[in-house]
C-alpha cells in the first residue's frame, strides 16, 4: 500500500506543479465572471444561465484535466525511461497502475473541489442560498464519473504509445458517450440486423457517463436525489472503473519493456 500511495503522491505533486490546472481554473473563473457581469434583458432568472455556463466549463475542464493528466502517465515514464528504475524496485506493474489511477483520481478530485467551491461562491453571491447537499452530490457523482474516465484513459495509455492519440481518442469517446450514449437503444430500433444487435450490445457495454450528470439539479435548485440512487451510481462507477483497470493491468503485465 505504501508503494501505491508513493506513486499516487507523485502524480498529485506533478499536477499541482504543472500549469494546466491553473490555466483552466483561471479561464473558467474569467469566463464565468465576465458572463456574470452581464444581465441580458434584465431577466431576474439570468443566474441560471450563469450557473449553466459555469458548470459546463467545469465539466469541460474536469474532462481535460482528467484525460490529459492520465494519458501522459505511463507513456511519459517510458519516454523518459523512469519506468526502469521504478520497476527495478519491489513494485509490481499492478501496483504501478493502481498508484497512477489513485493519483490521477485524487488530483482530479482536488481540482474539482476548487472548481465547485468557486461555483458555490458565485451562485451564493447571486442567489443568497447555498444548497450544499445538492452541490455535494453533484461533486461526488462528477468525481466518480471522472474515475471511470481516468480508468479508461489509463487502460488506453498502455495500448497507445503516444499520449496525444490516447487523449484524443478518449476525449472523442467520452464526449460521444455523454452526448449520444443514452440514445443508442433508440437508434438500434431503427436499424436492420445485424447492425441492430451490434448497437444494442454497444448500448449495454459502454459506461453510461450521463447517469452522473446532475447539472440540472444544481441549476434549478431542485431537491437532492435520493441516497440510494447516488449509492447505485457510485457502485456502477466502481464496477466500470475496476473493469478498465483490470483490463489495463492485464495488457501491461505482459508488455515487454526492453
Amino acid at each position: 500500500m505504501n508503494a501505491i500511495l508513493a506513486v499516487a503522491t507523485l502524480v498529485i505533486k506533478e499536477l499541482y506543479r504543472r500549469k494546466d490546472f491553473y490555466v483552466l481554473f483561471v479561464l473558467t473563473a474569467l469566463i464565468t465572471l465576465m458572463m456574470g457581469a452581464l444581465n441580458f434583458f434584465n431577466d431576474d432568472q439570468v443566474v441560471r444561465y450563469l450557473k449553466e455556463i459555469c458548470l459546463l466549463l467545469i465539466w469541460i475542464s474536469g474532462l481535460v484535466i482528467a484525460i490529459t493528466t492520465t494519458a501522459r502517465q505511463i507513456p511519459a515514464e517510458r519516454e523518459h525511461r523512469t519506468i526502469f528504475p521504478l520497476l527495478a524496485k519491489p513494485l509490481t506493474r499492478g501496483q504501478l497502475v493502481l498508484g497512477k489511477f489513485l493519483g490521477c483520481w485524487l488530483a482530479t478530485g482536488l481540482a474539482l473541489l476548487v472548481f465547485y467551491l468557486f461555483f458555490g461562491l458565485i451562485s451564493a453571491s447571486r442567489e443568497h442560498v447555498w444548497p450544499i447537499l445538492s452541490y455535494g452530490q453533484a461533486l461526488w457523482l462528477h468525481w466518480f464519473m471522472l474515475g471511470v474516465v481516468i480508468a479508461m484513459t489509463l487502460c488506453g495509455s498502455v495500448v497507445f504509445a503516444a499520449p496525444s492519440s490516447n487523449a484524443t481518442i478518449m476525449l472523442v469517446v467520452v464526449i460521444g458517450i455523454l452526448l449520444i450514449g443514452r440514445y443508442l437503444n433508440k437508434v438500434a430500433l431503427q436499424l436492420d440486423q445485424p447492425l441492430q444487435t451490434l448497437v444494442y450490445t454497444l448500448y449495454y457495454l459502454i459506461p453510461h457517463l450521463e447517469f452522473f450528470d446532475v447539472r440540472d439539479l444544481v441549476i434549478h435548485n431542485w431537491d437532492p436525489i435520493s441516497w440510494w440512487v447516488c449509492g447505485g451510481a457510485t457502485l456502477y462507477a466502481a464496477v466500470y472503473g475496476a473493469i478498465f483497470l483490470i483490463a489495463g493491468w492485464l495488457v501491461f503485465r505482459r508488455q515487454s519493456l526492453g
Binding site: 505504501n2 506513486v7 521504478l86 520497476l87 524496485k89 519491489p90 513494485l91 526492453g258
Partner: protein
C-alpha cells in the same frame, strides 16, 4: 543446472532471450544464447560486449522488464519474476531523465517510500547517499536544473537509497566528463570496500580493468569468456581492451 551456493547473489542458468517481430523471421532474433553465469557476494563483476551483444537483454531479464524465452534467472535465490527479488538491489539505468519537477531530495524520498523504509531511516539514507554522490548542495534544486553529470549522480543515489546488497549499473559513466567518471569510479570502489556486490556493464575497458574482480565478455548473445581480470591479463599477456577485441574476433585490418 547451476548450483547456487550460499554466497551466490546472482545466478543465470542457460538463459535464452529471443525477440519476435515482423522483420525478424519466423524464429525471431536471438539476443542471448544459453548464457550461464554466477556472481558471488562482494564481487565487482564487469559485463562486457560490443553493442548488440545481449548485455541489455540480460539486464532486462534480471530486472523483470522482459521475460526469458528459456532458462532461469534468480537474485538472492529468488526467481526474478517475484518483486521481492528486487528488495535488496539497486539499479542505475543508462540515460534516464528523472522526474524533472522533483528535487533530488524528493526523488529519493519517493523511491525510499517504494522500498517501505520507515520515515526516520528514510531521511538518514537520503542524507547519506546525497553526501556520497556529492549532491548535498543541490538537494533542494529541481532536477531540471541539473547538469548531465549531476543527473547521473542522482541516478546513482536512487540506486543506493535502500542500502542494496547488489548494485546493477548499466553504463554508469556513459556521457560523463572525466571528472564525472572519476567520481562514479571512486563511488564504485568505495562500495566494493564496503563489501557490496556490483554488476555492471561498460564500454570503458580501462575503468573495468581498474575496478572489476571478474568479467564476462559476450558477443552475438554468446558468452565468449568469463574469468578473473588478473588471470585473463596473465593468460592473454595483454590488457583488457586487447583481450576484448581478441575474444569478440575483431580485427582492425581489412
Amino acid at each position: 543446472m547451476v548450483t547456487s551456493g550460499p554466497e551466490t547473489i546472482l545466478s543465470i542458468d542457460k538463459l535464452v532471450v529471443r525477440y519476435r517481430a515482423r522483420d525478424t523471421g519466423p524464429n525471431g532474433k536471438l539476443a542471448v544464447d544459453r548464457l550461464t553465469l554466477e556472481v558471488q557476494r562482494g564481487e565487482v563483476f564487469g559485463f562486457l560486449g560490443p553493442n548488440g551483444a545481449g548485455k541489455t537483454s540480460t539486464m532486462n531479464v534480471l530486472l523483470g522488464f522482459i521475460p526469458p524465452t528459456a532458462g532461469t534467472v534468480s537474485l538472492f535465490g529468488v526467481p526474478v519474476d517475484r518483486p521481492i527479488a528486487r528488495q535488496r538491489i539497486g539499479y542505475l539505468p543508462e540515460l534516464t531523465y528523472y522526474y524533472r519537477f522533483l528535487s533530488a531530495e524528493e526523488l529519493l524520498r519517493f523511491y525510499a517510500r517504494i522500498f517501505g523504509l520507515p520515515a526516520e531511516l528514510r531521511e538518514q539514507r537520503i542524507d547519506m547517499v546525497l553526501k556520497l554522490v556529492e549532491l548535498e548542495h543541490a538537494r533542494k534544486k529541481t532536477i531540471r536544473t541539473y547538469s548531465r553529470g549531476m543527473q547521473q549522480r542522482v541516478g546513482l543515489a536512487q540506486a543506493l537509497i535502500n542500502d542494496p546488497d547488489l548494485l546493477i549499473l548499466d553504463e554508469p559513466t556513459s556521457g560523463l566528463d572525466p571528472i564525472g567518471r572519476m567520481k562514479v569510479r571512486s563511488i564504485i570502489q568505495r562500495l566494493k570496500q564496503e563489501g557490496k556486490t556490483v554488476f555492471f556493464s561498460s564500454h570503458e575497458l580501462g575503468e573495468v580493468e581498474t575496478v572489476c574482480d571478474r568479467v564476462a565478455i559476450l558477443s552475438q548473445g554468446e558468452l565468449k569468456t568469463l574469468g578473473r581480470v588478473d588471470e585473463l591479463v596473465r593468460q592473454y599477456e595483454c590488457d583488457l581492451e586487447k583481450i576484448f577485441l581478441k575474444v569478440i574476433g575483431y580485427s582492425s585490418e581489412p
